[in-house]
Point group: C2
């Protein structure tokens, strides 16, 4: 019997191994899928090759990027740069619509709040974190002890190396790694194309393929007012890659939920996504309402709107994935297989067997207070969130580092300050509209007698209250924020800024709610996930990549067509395709080429590849990731996934899941032939 | 109560009217949707305009076409011409692959068996057909009486006018119309493009959009060895139509099943389509096996293969439609509404209320003998079918005209002869393979002890028997067929041709089976359909178009994009799109441009529109239909529907159902700039 079990297990393992031959996985740099790359593509991963990719890759603006010259030039997407373009704009000077080309280095524009970080080094601290929890500690105590140890490791590293440090939890607690980052805050805008070239097809074409976008931008990283030296950089391979070529994507996928249990997926499907669809719709409506007030308001609203519409499409694609019976069947099979293997081993079953039920109970607890948890919030209102952060910071910073909430640890303070003190413009008229809508939502959702609603409204209508709060606050001024942040608890307590007064009154309610959530939902859920993480790790080892965590990962795959729409999608597009689609819609928005692109049409080679699709496993956060070839040269720039990839948050299916990238030849053509920036192209060439 | 019912009925009628504003319907020329065209598009239909379209339109080769010059030039699709191109080919001369351009009229190639017919006149004979059935006749007798009257009307018309005549049943018996056709049998091939230009994207892109095909061909109709004069013809509007333009499609949609009951649809979904998927697969496998034997065999197999693959994709799309819960819900609602309106009127309920059950019972009867009915067939084998037709003709022609089976009436004999005596080449090696597979299928499906199987196999293996039958028959020779057909019953009875011997033995079995089917399935089902046809006609009148019947219809709509694949499909494509897709696949099959097209790439204007999508309601049989503008000029050439249109057999949904056509500008560009046939383009110009 025991023998039979082993045979079966081997058979299952073979099955798993066969499955793993898909181009799945966002792999950590300590554990690249070397054997698979060797077997499937005849490619030998070397430590030097890996280090070169890692040191060339950066994270910025919620996305990814890479050094593409030895002088600190960073390539990313226009849509990653868009927020900075918007913040650098002003009435009459619209760097989003018109793009920007710095004629000389002196013209490179310092961004108000763009930070670039690169993973300088990393080490396994699993033993130390695990050892921190006393053997006889209960779950909550063990969790707290591990968290305190992680904060200590982070602080110690930061003090010792001066590098920004993080302890990263992988495999839901199967491993802990200390990541150290080099961080740069003087980042300057060098190049961004006109909006219609960067986002040709707009929200319609977003998350689809075939695609025709020059979604690229260049920044330069400075230190001491000089371009930084970046010895690890990816030279542009102008001829790029073609169908069937093996390519790699080093980047920063934000998060995946592939290890979620069926109970968690059900909660997502039945509550999280429907709620998210509703709130995204409300936020988009607000921006449309605001943008309709005038040209300047429309300009202010545009960047936020693009982000929200992007989010809506992502969310909807993920939601549809969860509603797909095929996906559901695959996930149920996955869980059944995993559970069967735990059950089959008495030791595993004793240690981990109850984890699924524990997670299920956490979902039930969450559901029992769903309305309150989602209703007691001021939503997306920027100034209110700032006020709440300032009040919370004053409380948290009085505690010892180890006891603080996530986001307020010593090691995290530099980033907190950077965010709270950003000089980016704030538009009071828009803030007031957002505040009014948030307050209306609070009232609708909680009713006038709820404690939170009473404090938030203070007996006024949403419109009156919003006008009073936004009209009275000084928080739009970075100096006022700085005074409150630097002043600490005493200054916060004494402030009569109406938003600070409001935040002070709401903070205890929110803190109590967070405490309840931590104890009843997040705590048990995380503990259950950690049990499953350990179980999975015990059963499968590191044969599977961990869920994405916003940290540096390596994906791989090939440029490949896929079945769609009754036929096969082409593996790449050319400039012919761009003009075909623009002409088909008679150049109406969002299918319009820029004046510069239209002028260049006579001279550029239409057969030049423009975008391509590869099987690389990516997700939001990978935007701006370089695509590199076997030799580590830049052959493309990830900017999207196709519509079939959205379900990738939960499951990867290589049949149709594709990463969408700008082709290297298009990058060269855009810089040289369309935007007259051949000097930048020259800087990006191998030497 | 009665008053209330009327109010409700009016409300439902309003609803129907609102729904009818979609561009739905394949309308007969006696009942164009004039009010809707006026209201929705501000277009006034005139009798002269209608006559001009009708007299310009023709039916040919299972598809549609139109006169495009005063000298008998007929435009249709390359895929309608393909069979003739194949039959005009020979080893070393492949008119499918290489296309054909007649340099002068003397080079126009006479087709072996292509017939062109045009609807010369039509008249309503409903009263006469209905009156033919005695008032007290039962259902079967009434049906027989009406059929006899239809045959009499046909014969009478043919004798009187010399025009090929048909009585067409519309609205499932709501109306009967006498259609008279001018028929031409001397039809010559004038122009066909190279295969890769006509079918760029091949089976992959078939039934999809965006599309990039020059699926066009030109024939010329001759009489007395001279080009026929065609006073009604459609001049080419070279600039063509653009997005939003109203366009019309006069053509010959083969059949739709939009009036099927839920019981019929269930039978289709659960039996007809699964069986069809299987038999199409077998036929395709046979052709692949044959084509793999050598280049010449591959050439012979190609045309049949293209047709089968086309059929497979159509069938699969229709099947998927039937599996779609949304479609199902719509059809169930449709039937529920219709039944409710019949039930609501006691007179209607008494007359028609039992029809649904009657049809359901016919499905059950069909199901009870399904295996035998589908198994007792020699399938697609060409020579066996010819033998069976010859034997049957001998029997049928001995009966009085009114009692004969469909296809053997006097008025139909010319076409029967034309088909049976075609000089088109027959390939014995291929016939033998097909026969062997058919016999194997008979054996597998019925078992060795079935009467039909015993006779078919005659104690031999399928391979032996096929070799003996095909090796021994003389039916490949048109003269041998002519002798048997002209000789009649005596000559057939005396023939020792092994296929005739086999057909003689099988014919009584098949006749008995047909009789059973007619009495138990087809008869009751048709009678039920006729009841429902009358009920529908009583309830809705002619506000809905009748199901397609292969006769001339008028569709209308606009050039329009539609939601697909997460974005919007472009309303048209350009030559840019063709080269984009070819380059994307590095020109590999089936995404290859012809040598002539590649050579022309340097000179043609890439921005020229190539294909477009319109909301016109079409289906198989419409291939080759002209697309005309308000002025009756040719702006396009229908060659396909998109994948979303396949469910159109059962239901039209204007959201995504699109007809796909070659744009007039592409027709001009192809003739003038790619194929050096500017003289043909000149002939097609308005004067």
């Amino acid at each position: 019997m025991r023998h039979l079990t082993r045979v079966l297990t081997a058979a299952v393992l073979l099955l798993v191994a066969a499955t793993a031959l898909a181009d799945e996985g966002m792999w950590t740099f300590d554990n690249p899928p070397a054997a698979q790359l060797q077997k499937q593509y005849g490619f030998a991963v070397t430590p030097a090759w890996l280090d070169h990719l890692r040191l060339s890759a950066v994270r910025l603006g919620g996305g990814s990027g890479s050094f593409v010259s030895p002088d600190g030039l960073v390539l990313t997407n226009a849509h990653v740069a868009r927020g900075q373009q918007q913040k650098l704009s002003a009435p009459g000077r619209d760097l989003v619509t018109d793009g920007y080309v710095a004629a000389t280095r002196a013209d490179e524009l310092k961004c108000p709040d763009m930070e670039v970080v690169g993973l300088a080094s990393f080490e396994n601290v699993t033993a130390r974190v695990i050892a921190a929890a006393p053997k006889d500690a209960d779950e909550t105590a063990a969790l707290a002890a591990r968290r305190a140890e992680m904060a200590a490791i982070t602080k110690e590293s930061q003090t010792k190396t001066g590098l920004q440090s993080d302890v990263v939890t992988l495999y839901h607690g199967g491993e802990y790694w200390l990541y150290r980052y080099r961080a740069y805050t003087d980042v300057r805008l060098v190049f961004a194309p006109e909006e219609t070239d960067a986002y040709f097809g707009g929200d319609d074409d977003n998350f689809t393929f075939p695609r025709h976008d020059l979604d690229m931008a260049l920044f330069r990283v400075y230190e001491n007012d000089q371009p930084v030296k970046s010895p690890d950089w990816l030279p542009l391979n102008v001829s790029g890659a073609k169908e069937g070529d093996l390519v790699f994507v080093p980047g920063h996928p934000g998060s995946t939920n592939r290890l979620m249990t069926i109970a968690q997926l059900k909660f997502q499907r039945d509550h999280t996504y429907p709620q998210r669809e509703q709130s995204t719709k409300e936020a988009i409506d607000a921006l449309h309402e605001y943008g309709a007030r005038g040209a300047e308001q429309a300009r202010q609203a545009a960047a936020g709107l693009a982000g929200l519409e992007n989010g809506r499409k992502v969310g909807h694609g993920e939601y549809l994935g969860l509603l797909d019976p095929t996906v559901w069947a695959a996930k149920e099979k996955e869980e059944a297989d995993f559970r069967a293997r735990v059950v089959a081993d008495p030791a595993l079953q004793t240690r981990y067997g109850q984890a699924w039920t524990q997670i299920e109970k956490a979902q039930e607890a969450h559901l029992s207070r769903l309305d309150q948890l989602s209703g007691r919030s001021l939503g997306r209102t920027g100034l209110a969130r700032t006020a709440l952060s300032l009040v919370r910071a004053a409380t948290e910073l009085q505690k010892p580092d180890a006891e603080r909430n996530e986001g307020y640890h010593d090691a995290q303070l530099r980033r907190l300050r950077y965010r709270l003190l950003s000089p980016a413009p704030i538009y009071p008229e828009f803030e007031q509209l957002q505040m009014e809508r948030s307050l209306k939502r609070v009232l609708d959702k909680l009713g006038p007698d709820d404690e939170f609603a009473k404090i938030a409204l203070a007996g006024q209508s949403p419109a009156e209250r919003a006008a009073a709060l936004v009209g009275g606050t000084k928080l739009a001024d970075p100096a006022a924020r700085k005074a409150l942040l630097d002043g600490g608890a005493a200054v916060i307590a004494a402030s009569d800024d109406p938003l600070i007064v409001l935040a002070r009154a709401l903070d205890p309610l929110l803190a109590a709610q967070e405490k309840w959530e931590k104890e009843n939902v997040e705590g048990p859920e995380t503990a259950g996930e950690q049990l499953l993480g350990a179980a999975r790790f015990a059963v499968y080892g590191k044969a599977m990549a961990p869920d994405a965590t916003g940290t540096l990962r390596l994906s791989f795959g090939e440029i490949k067509s896929y079945p769609y729409n009754g036929t096969v999608a082409q593996p790449l597009t050319t400039f012919h395709g761009l003009f075909d689609r623009a002409l088909a819609f008679a150049g109406r928005d969002p299918f319009r080429s820029s004046p510069r692109m239209s002028a260049a049409a006579k001279t550029i080679d239409m057969a030049t590849p423009l975008n391509f699709a590869s099987t690389c496993d990516i997700i939001g956060g990978n935007s701006g990731s370089p695509v590199v070839d076997r030799e580590g040269r830049l052959v493309g720039l990830v900017f999207d996934g196709n519509i079939e990839s959205l379900v990738g948050r939960f499951i990867y299916d290589g049949t149709a899941n594709r990463a969408v990238a700008v082709h290297a030849a298009a990058i060269a053509t855009a810089l040289r032939d369309v935007y007259g920036a051949g000097y930048l192209l020259k800087e990006m060439q191998p030497r």
